[in-house]
């Protein structure tokens, strides 16, 4: 646009100026093309379909062609927003995810620091244990944890001598156990990422800090953490996305939401709505809302970082 309106009178300069310009603007897109070619079909299309389904009355009868599909605008969203259960599950999910993010970061960061200080053998053992947790599929891990806490046969109850105690009865105890499983699954990523980051910090910087009289605690918070900020950002965003979308652990360990559905989270709720009740349209609406929430949270977080003057 600008190139056209401010075109100088001389045709020769105009040609010379305008030819490199479009190419300059095209080049980033050109570089993006390969990844876009993969990402658009893989992510764009499902998200587009999700949005499309969410504005239709789309249930089993419509899927199998028994009834015509009907456009109903934002009716699904209205139904959802008017549903008290949706709000309670949403609140529960937000709080649960927030606690999980903090816990994962705390455990991951603490163990990353331990890794840097530990000797060779303990470091190897810790890394192996973390890798094993990381490699365990969510389904397997959840089932193993569930067995550990089984009321009659669980190892935990046998060790504590409280056979018959049902860990999945009280709402908060259940969330605690499931949360521990989730943290166990996700801390290795945080730990490894931060460990790599700490290793990359020149030892001279830390040395200088200690020469200046900074304690280990101080040099961690004042020197290492600021230098790790880009990494922390990525780790936080990843954790928010993972923990907000938590599904397997809740679904497996609480048998689809716990007693009277008290441990349901948004993803499980969406699944049960879409596939359990065959309300594909309504389920898609939940999916869209989840996507929007995640986008907003992530954008706000990145923006806050820019505001504070830190580059990613």
């Amino acid at each position: 646009m600008t190139a056209v309106t401010t075109a100088p009178a001389d045709p020769e300069t105009r040609v010379r100026q305008s030819t490199p310009r479009p190419r300059g603007r095209l080049r980033p897109w050109l570089y993006l093309l390969p990844s876009a070619a993969v990402l658009l079909p893989l992510f764009g299309y499902p998200i587009y379909m999700l949005g499309l389904l969410s504005v239709f009355d789309y249930r089993q009868a419509q899927v199998s062609g028994g009834e015509p599909t009907r456009f109903i605008g934002f009716d699904n969203y209205a139904t959802l927003l008017g549903d008290q259960r949706f709000w309670s599950v949403l609140a529960q999910t937000v709080v649960f995810a927030a606690v999980l993010v903090i816990a994962t970061l705390a455990v991951g960061a603490a163990l990353a620091v331990v890794l840097t200080k530990a000797g060779r053998v303990p470091r190897l053992l810790l890394s192996l244990a973390a890798m094993a947790a990381w490699a365990a599929p969510a389904m397997t891990g959840s089932t193993v944890w569930m067995f550990l806490f089984d009321a009659d046969l669980g190892l935990v109850n046998q060790l504590l001598g409280i056979e018959g105690y049902n860990w999945f009865y009280d709402k908060w105890v259940t969330f605690g156990i499931v949360g521990a499983t989730v943290v166990w699954h996700s801390f290795p990523f945080v730990m490894v990422t931060l460990y790599a980051g700490i290793q990359a910090i020149p030892s001279s910087v830390v040395e200088a800090a200690s020469l200046d009289g900074a304690s280990a605690w101080h040099s961690f918070w004042r020197v290492i953490v600021p230098m790790l900020r880009p990494l922390v950002t990525i780790v936080v965003i990843q954790s928010i996305i993972w923990d907000f979308k938590i599904f397997t652990q809740i679904y497996v360990m609480t048998n689809g939401g716990g007693i009277a559905g008290q441990n349901s989270v948004l993803n499980v709720y969406a699944y049960q709505t879409a596939f359990g009740s065959s309300e594909y349209g309504l389920g898609s609406a939940i999916g869209v809302i989840m996507t929007l929430i995640l986008l907003v949270v992530t954008l706000l977080y990145i923006r806050a970082l820019y505001r504070s003057g830190e580059k990613l």
Binding site: F56, S64, G66, G258, I259, S277
Partner: protein, 420 residues
């Protein structure tokens, strides 16, 4: 600028594809007389005897139809079955010709238009007339019969004869009797549950509701509340502590009774082999689940499985032939002998009753009248949303009072009917 570009691209994309989401091609099926006949049957915990009977039927069928191959796939009974069937309806290429399905799922499948109307085929089949009218109802939607009831399962009260004898108790004849016997057992033998009940055991709780005069469509009525209360009163520390029992499913109560941890249980005739394989073997007897009034029998749920022919089947008459063979009297009796499933054909049931006294309490229950869940897609939704378990669990765990929980459940039921 950038944002504008994106927005424009988004609008363009929407405009390009502003069409409704896809629906499955409507398959009309065919009537080939040869090829492969695909059959879906449910996978049971003890599948071997079922497989043997089915193999026999296939052999007999193969002898009469030499150029037809019958291919049986066993599908899970878990909620994943819904996805399996939906997949079959949506993609006729991967659908079977004949399928076994739970009669509680019928309404949803019929609404989805997945099964063929067999009214004429069953009407002209002499053996088919022998299916009781109340049972045929569990295969009928809007006057069309979408399958042959293959077998039913009826629940009754199993109790431990040794425990009852030791404590000088008599088999309960009223609900009140049942509750007091359960409490006494728990008191004198704290390692036992009086009667194993579960917060997720819908079909254990419904007879109490039906007996009190309530129904699924009116869970907030005074009658239904009385029934719900009678059941949830059993989910207490003096019988079956909510800490353990609130999350129990029907299957888990079978385990509790079979392993000798409960003195009574509301189990089906189909659970006999499981109990015989457990610690309770040889030490139990069965009576009909009593009602509130002396001598009354609480109406049991007539759950069972039907055999249907898919609408998209390319071998319609072959499929019907196979269905009539597997669902006929000879194979119904064989299935009973193998699996303990109650036949749906009255003549087959009469023949068995004379042979096996174990069946008496179950057949008495059938004779006293059975009930069924609403034949409406709403039921599948009510079931999947766990409306009734949630109600029972909220009351048992004191998250809500009886009135609150039944009000909520009634509202959820209403909503399910309204939107379907």
């Amino acid at each position: 600028m950038k944002i504008l570009n994106w927005a424009a691209a988004g609008v363009a994309l929407l405009a390009l594809a502003a069409c409704a989401p896809a629906t499955a091609p409507s398959a009309s099926g065919g009537d080939d007389k040869s090829g492969t006949l695909r059959v879906w049957l449910f996978d049971e915990p003890n599948r071997a005897p079922k497989e043997k009977v089915v193999a026999e039927a296939i052999k007999e069928f193969g002898a009469a139809n030499a150029d037809v191959k019958v291919e049986v796939t066993y599908i899970p009974t878990t909620p994943a079955r819904h996805e399996k069937f939906k997949g079959a309806f949506n993609d006729p290429a991967s659908a079977p010709d004949v399928a076994e399905y739970g009669n509680t799922d019928l309404a949803e499948y019929a609404a989805a238009g997945g099964f063929a109307d067999l009214s004429a085929d069953l009407g002209s089949w002499p053996e088919g007339k022998d299916v009781g009218a109340d049972l045929l109802k569990s295969a009928t939607v809007d006057g069309k019969v979408y399958g042959l009831p293959w077998f039913i399962g009826i629940r009754a009260l199993y109790y431990r004869t040794d425990v009852f004898e030791e404590l000088g108790l008599k088999p309960p004849t009223t609900i009140e009797n049942l509750a007091s016997a359960a409490r006494e057992i728990r008191k004198k033998k704290p390692e036992l549950y009086g009667v194993a009940v579960g917060g997720e055991y819908t079909f254990g709780a419904l007879p109490f509701v039906w007996d009190a005069g309530g129904d699924i469509e009116s869970l907030d009525s005074p009658e239904a509340r009385k029934g719900v209360q009678a059941y949830t009163d059993l989910l207490s520390d003096d019988n079956c502590p909510p800490q353990t029992c609130a999350s129990l499913t029907g299957g888990k109560t079978v385990e509790l009774f079979a392993s000798g941890k409960a003195a009574m249980g509301i189990l089906g005739n189909f659970s006999r082999s499981a109990v015989d394989a457990g610690a309770a073997a040889g030490k139990y007897a069965v009576v009909p689940l009593p009602g509130a009034k002396e001598g009354a029998i609480a109406p049991a749920f007539s759950g069972g499985n039907n055999l249907g022919v898919m609408k998209s089947s390319k071998h319609r008459s072959l499929a019907v032939k196979f269905l009539q063979l597997l669902g006929g009297k000879a194979y119904q009796i064989k299935m009973y002998e193998a699996m303990g499933n109650l036949p749906t054909l009255t003549s087959a049931r009469d023949e068995l009753a004379a042979k096996d006294s174990f069946l008496k309490p179950f057949l008495d229950t059938v004779a006293a009248g059975t009930r069924f869940v609403p034949i409406d897609p709403a039921w599948v939704k009510i079931d999947n949303q766990k409306v009734i378990p949630t109600m029972l669990q909220k009351i048992a765990t004191k998250q809500a009072t009886l009135d609150q929980a039944t009000d909520e459940a009634a509202a959820a039921v209403k909503a399910a009917f309204g939107r379907s």
